[in-house]
Symmetry: C2
Subunit: 163 residues, 2 copies
Amino acid sequence: MITNINIKPERKKKLNEFLSQKKLKSTKQRDVIFNEFFDNYVGKHITIEDLYEKIKKNNPRIGYATIYRTLKLFKESGIASERNFGDGRARYEPIRYDGDTHHHIICKDCSRIVEFSNNHIESCLKQVAKLNGFSVENYKIEVYGSCPLSKNGGNCEYNENAS
Amino acid sequence: MITNINIKPERKKKLNEFLSQKKLKSTKQRDVIFNEFFDNYVGKHITIEDLYEKIKKNNPRIGYATIYRTLKLFKESGIASERNFGDGRARYEPIRYDGDTHHHIICKDCSRIVEFSNNHIESCLKQVAKLNGFSVENYKIEVYGSCPLSKNGGNCEYNENAS
DNA sequence: ATTAAAATTGATTATTATTATCAATTAGAA
DNA sequence: TTCTAATTGATAATAATAATCAATTTTAAT
């Protein structure tokens, strides 16, 4: 299990470094989105639409396009990563620390997502790539299957972002 | 390397079984698309658009929508698989034999794709899933990096579907 | 604090991949 | 052959994301 204490200041620092390096600006909107994202979605996988709906409750003036642009900015700055689990909409998750490479097991019945890391598998993959002359930048491993609830015959309606 | 002798009849048989089981029909268009797909794109990863353009040369009456529908049919019948490498367009590849689970190393500079299989990695993944109570249906492993040509400083413009 | 330049926002439109619609055609069973 | 259901091709609809642009805001310089 990954400990999860006080990652916000470190991530905020990394974002600010990125902004100043690229001569971009801090704004109220970026702060609001940053806080919402890192307060409530660490370890989760949120879509642009869901994040927009959530933020709209307290900040109805923030536009849809700003959420898109800001999450893209977070991605470029290395504090968020984009995932595509095959339903046609991108999901974003906070990167908890630099070098956090973890992967996902996805229930195809209820979309429940479990995360895992495995150095052994990664070193195997690195070796396979090396044999083919490739240098590795990053991996994406997804395992699709049925989760425990699903197998119990329940209707296993699971929503990791439910409030 | 996977041998590649005469897979068409076996795949055609599987498609026909699917069609008759679902009470669907054989058509000229499906034959044309099947032949093009299995004659020229085994081991490759073709987009709908590229396949449409290729087929149009000899069969200008076949519509775009038919290519979409037919590749979806191939997928459902288990003779093609859909891949998404993150550029927003689905790619299709022929499934050479039942149970062909292989994975991809993708050059982020030139989009060159190398395939690999690895039973050891797969059994590790199955075990990880099992520890989390999941039963596994399928895996998707993608390794992104730089290919040998890319690292040589060349502009490595590679196109696996070039004629 | 003022100002000026550059970046950002929000609203909207555009783009792009994919899917749905539907009248006309075709395949396959009777 | 005939009938029914599936298929086709053309086109419109959908949906996620990106681009546009005038108005606003941030930041650095004064």
